[in-house]
Symmetry: C2
Subunit: 303 residues, 2 copies
């Protein structure tokens, strides 16, 4: 029986683990890999090992600590969480089962892919799924963004501020009618294309250099140095479905203390409805979740 099981080993999960260990809680982290998305460095020909993500060094320190403490982590994936009387049972992909008095879900999100050849190989080599993280690497560069929904338009607005030129591809014609899309279309740096899909990704020396688009038999080609895919993200929350409140997009609803509506079950990072795609936010929320688990367990002692 553990005091705390943490699902996920990205910035939120690793920080929560560091704090929980610091508070001397019996802790287990169940994760497929340590470091999460911060393990993916972003490369571009004009960047020389430069990394803009504030907080990555901190995450790496927590990661090293956990790598060293082998008994604290399981390289596995939680498949289902069951709530018992006053504990939680976690069943994993490798058919193991673990129990704890409290739980932090920090399993992040999975970005929706385009399923175009070359997409996977060029990830982090010109292709990004997070404009909020990588837009500042593309100052005065030619970029394209394909996406749908409000977050995609916000991302486009951010890119329009910094990039030399932006090809904004909106497969869903509804998005073109949004006020922000109309505003963007007035910007001379931005070219809005409605209904198009990406049919081909062009590369040279393993960096993206262009895209081909297609729509109703029409083809277009663009030279670009960066492609942002903002088709939405899916929170990795299935293992607690039915146990805690989700928002309309299946993100775990937390309050300002990272508690869910299920006592003893906390969540942090992008799997929650406070999704920010920011390392520092995930770190802060991970710390907060662990501190509140600690208080929750202290309170339980006194009951």
């Amino acid at each position: 029986m553990y005091d705390l099981i943490i699902l996920g080993g990205g910035p939120a999960g690793l920080t929560a683990a560091a704090y929980a260990l610091h508070k001397r809680l019996e802790t287990l982290v169940i994760t497929q890999d340590l470091g999460g998305k911060t393990s993916l460095r972003f490369h571009a020909p004009w960047l020389e090992g430069h990394e803009l993500l504030s907080g990555v060094e901190l995450v790496n320190r927590f990661k090293s600590q956990l790598e060293y403490l082998e008994f604290v982590h399981e390289l596995d994936r939680a498949v289902q969480v069951v709530r018992n009387d006053r504990t939680f049972s976690v069943r994993t992909e490798k058919q193991k089962q673990f129990e704890a008095r409290a739980l932090i879900v920090a399993t992040g999100t999975t970005a929706k892919r385009l399923a175009v050849p070359g997409e996977r190989e060029l990830l982090g080599r010109g292709i990004s799924y997070s404009a909020v993280s990588h837009a500042p690497l593309f100052i005065d560069r030619q970029v394209a963004l394909i996406g749908q929904g409000t977050r995609a338009l916000y991302a486009a607005a951010e890119l329009a501020l910094v990039a030399k030129g932006l090809v904004l591809i909106l497969p869903d014609p509804k998005d073109v009618e949004a006020p922000l899309a109309k505003k963007l279309a007035e910007n001379p740096k931005v070219k809005v294309l409605s209904g198009f899909q990406i049919s081909e990704i062009v590369e040279r020396d393993r960096f993206i250099t262009g895209i081909a688009l297609r729509h109703n038999g029409t083809s277009r080609g663009f030279e670009i140095e960066g492609l942002f895919v903002e088709m939405g993200t899916t929170p990795n929350s299935q293992m607690v479905a039915g146990l805690v409140e989700f928002d309309a997009e299946n993100r775990i609803v937390v309050n300002a203390r990272m508690a869910t509506n299920c006592p003893g079950l906390f969540a942090a990072g992008d799997v929650t409805n406070t999704v920010a795609e920011q390392v520092l936010v995930a770190i802060g929320d991970g710390a907060k979740a662990a501190l509140n688990v600690y208080e929750y367990l202290l309170g339980r002692i006194t009951v």
Copy 2:
């Protein structure tokens, strides 16, 4: 007219400023000093410049950036905030006035003092107002804690885990009846004293070495290496009183996106009801507040 005014220059305010500048918002930080409580290093004879606070390097980086950008900060204190039609006016102690479209309050808290001679001089030299921050510096040391309320008892529980011995001074006899206090009294490392007050602080070479207590004519003396004062904290929120919702302790109530119930007014750090006294939490919440201000202002553009 600024896009954003940030009140406070501690970890939350500095991180919010770094993010806001990164997003190219016209930003002003109004603060009496840059760095907040992280500027106070904690010294003890057995620590050689060792600092345990994760995140302090990050705060220092943000601080240097802001020191350099003179036009982005005013060394002053906000006295009152007025909400106009779609903007906020901030009046300062130096009788200046500034306007912005959005506001982040990150003014922190002020710890209640004991008002015992020597207390101010030994702050950070054996005396701490935050067990949650400094307890890990006192592993296997003899310490005392004077405090009241639930947070003081939580702090005592944490110290009892790591310290060699703990003198727990509870001036308010009601606190002795709390379940956690009773639990602590059973721990052989903990000595609980009810009703006593600290009458004298003893020092040698500018480090605390002991305390004298008094209660109804009875005196007691203890040799200690650390004194934790947990008499409560007062949030520095007066300048927005009446404008936003406060909790019962006058902390600003925020949701998981750091928004208050007043549109355009956000808050972060220990001045909020998510008070954690943790640099990493303040950093994360500061980043979150700035990102949500950015989205708020983007939304406003499109209206």
